[in-house]
Symmetry: C2
Subunit: 392 residues, 2 copies
């Protein structure tokens, strides 16, 4: 059997990309054309012109989400640009359809300038019911999302931040349920303070985590030191979400992990070894989510004493996969026609996701539902809709 790489290339080539457009209306004769196109189409146009809100009644806007990237942080491949990012955006588009019945439209932008990305999203927004930002590098992704959320009247959600954070938090919640530990007692090491790391730290803080140490490609993050951290990381420091390491002697990631309970990696493949796991407290949780290669091989982590291991991959147990969050979140947001996806919705989603698995079902290899669990999208979208209902 040929390799995964070869099979994936063949699939993409044979299918000529991964999605197509399908007409929902018949176009077989002049009468059909009169209704769907000229002159009949003038009527929904007139109605929407009189009442812009009617766009949600007569067009695809009610069910369409743009999947927008600038190609600057694609999977673990880095800044490969707009064109090379298209296969991922197409994949996301078809996941939207498969998992939530939402029509995702890939939009790969030929610019990596914050102002231009924001303006382009503003300009194309009328067509879409929501915008899913994808694979845009930190720190600018944080600013882009914040500006779009305040500018647009449709929900904007940077999946690499919040999707990852929500699913990670749900996995951690269930790891605690299974092992009868309390979230607030955990000491956590977070490797990677980009888009995902930033959102994970914020969400875990909302969920009661007190001690979270951070590490990134510049080394250990030390809040006490005057350093030129980027804006999102500085925000985490200012809000005391990132803690000062116990000793100033600690100068390696392995040292930082010593005596902690949880490792969360959203960084690069093969970052840590078995010794790092051995130095942690007993029965640690290891969420090694770098794609496509995790921070540590799951087998190695288990053999070194990890109680629970999760990765981002579909070929290992406990896949901490955004597909558990974004389809239901957008499905709920579109159904409730909310203009924003707020912190309460994210927390509600974490709990909804975690509690799909009953106490009896929980297991070291089953702390997070399968992406193919049909209950996921309904529970998540319901959680979002309930939050909107409470707000109003």
């Amino acid at each position: 059997m040929s390799s995964l790489k070869e099979r994936s290339l063949k699939l993409h080539k044979d299918k000529k990309g991964k999605f197509e457009i399908l007409s929902k209306v018949p176009l077989r004769n002049a009468d059909d054309l009169s209704l769907a196109y000229s002159p009949g189409v003038a009527e929904p146009c007139r109605v929407i012109h009189e009442n812009p809100d009617a766009i949600y009644t007569y067009t695809t806007k009610q069910n369409t989400v743009a999947v927008v990237t600038d190609g600057s942080a694609v999977l673990g491949l880095g800044n490969i640009g707009a064109k090379a990012a298209l296969p991922v955006m197409e994949g996301k588009a078809v996941l939207f359809k498969e998992f939530a019945g939402i029509d995702g439209i890939p939009v790969c932008l030929d610019t990596q300038d914050v102002d231009e990305i924001v303006e382009t999203c503003q300009h194309i927004a009328p067509t879409f019911g929501g915008i899913n930002l994808e694979d845009i590098a930190a720190p600018r992704c944080v600013e882009i999302e914040k500006r779009l959320v305040s500018l647009l009247d449709i929900p904007v959600f940077h999946d690499d931040q919040h999707g990852t954070a929500i699913v990670t938090a749900a996995a951690l919640l269930n790891a605690c349920r299974l092992t009868k530990r309390k979230m607030q007692d955990l000491e956590i090491v977070l490797a990677g303070t980009g888009a995902a790391g930033y959102a994970i730290a914020k969400l875990l803080s909302s969920l009661g985590i007190k001690r979270l140490y951070a590490f990134n490609k510049e080394g250990i993050v030390r809040p006490s030191k005057q350093s030129s951290y980027d804006a999102p990381l500085q925000e985490l420091i200012d809000k005391k979400i990132v803690s000062e390491p116990a000793s100033s002697d600690i100068d390696t990631l392995e040292g930082l992990m010593k005596g902690t309970d949880v490792f969360i990696g959203v960084s690069v493949g093969n970052l840590i070894g078995a010794d790092a796991i051995r130095g942690m407290n007993k029965d640690p949780f290891i969420f090694a989510m770098a794609n496509p290669t995790p921070e540590i091989d799951p087998k190695t982590a288990k053999e070194a004493g990890a109680k629970i291991v999760g990765t981002g991959r579909s070929d290992y147990p406990n896949q901490i996969n955004n597909v558990l969050a974004f389809p239901g979140i957008f499905k709920g947001a579109l159904a409730a026609r909310t203009q924003s996806i707020d912190e309460d919705m994210k927390i509600a989603t974490v709990r909804a996701l975690a509690h799909i698995i009953s106490d009896e079902e929980l297991h070291v290899d089953y702390i997070i539902p399968s992406p193919f669990d049909k209950r996921v999208v309904d529970r998540v979208s319901l959680a979002v809709k309930e939050c909107v209902a409470k707000r109003s």
Copy 2:
């Protein structure tokens, strides 16, 4: 039976808009996800990053056209804005699919500024194999198209200009074939010097028309007078495509039409009456293409002596409909991977379209093929491909 307006509204509401996304790949299990999404999708990304041209092999770019508007000149409804334009763009998107198998994606822009429209199209271009500009007001549509054609490496085609011009020219060619007249002998009155009028005048000039008089909402166009014409119209005057009226005494459209052979209307409904037709030369051709209401009712025109009448509507004979041109043109352009759609291609398309109808079949009510004639898209796309082959 309820009215067309009511039926169209009901259709748009019941179907929740006119298109949806369909996955071309299976997404039923972890293996499917590994191939279409992470980690397998990384491989086509890597290949495209190494060789950007491979985007045409592994993605939907090879078959996708953005249908872009700013909502400033939608059908005959005028400047109704981006949101109200969406039903038309959706209609165009599904026509692309139905008639050429091309995946059209509506993009309605929340700006009517030339620079911003050009920049937005540049930024979203990586995703698409071509851009179909639609329902953008003149004169800026002409500048936008010219700038995009020179900036982008994908074909850009403003359908309201060139689609209309090509089909009008094909109809005129066949009207001449049927009545044994020569194009160069015809005197033509063109009502409307916006996007369509500008392109019709240019294309007819390329096809040998010598006398074309123009009329627009400011009145009769007089090349001899110093007047503040917009840039596209001034271009027609500078290139002597618009002729000076025979006498300076002529001060009405009816007067201008007196003694001419062809009326081409791309203006507003009910512009002319029966008397205007009666004043023309014997057996005139009347192409009254304002939508949804023609410049003159076809019955009235016939009764007043018109030999051949065409409109833009699907409920009358001789529908001069862009759907005869744009699907085949983009199908040919995408297949040949040409970066531009030049004048030669347009002329070849005119001839291909006209000659689908044999001498024996030609009839006053059949001078242009039906939009449902299956030969149209193949003949038109072949004509485009042959032009590209000759160029190289």
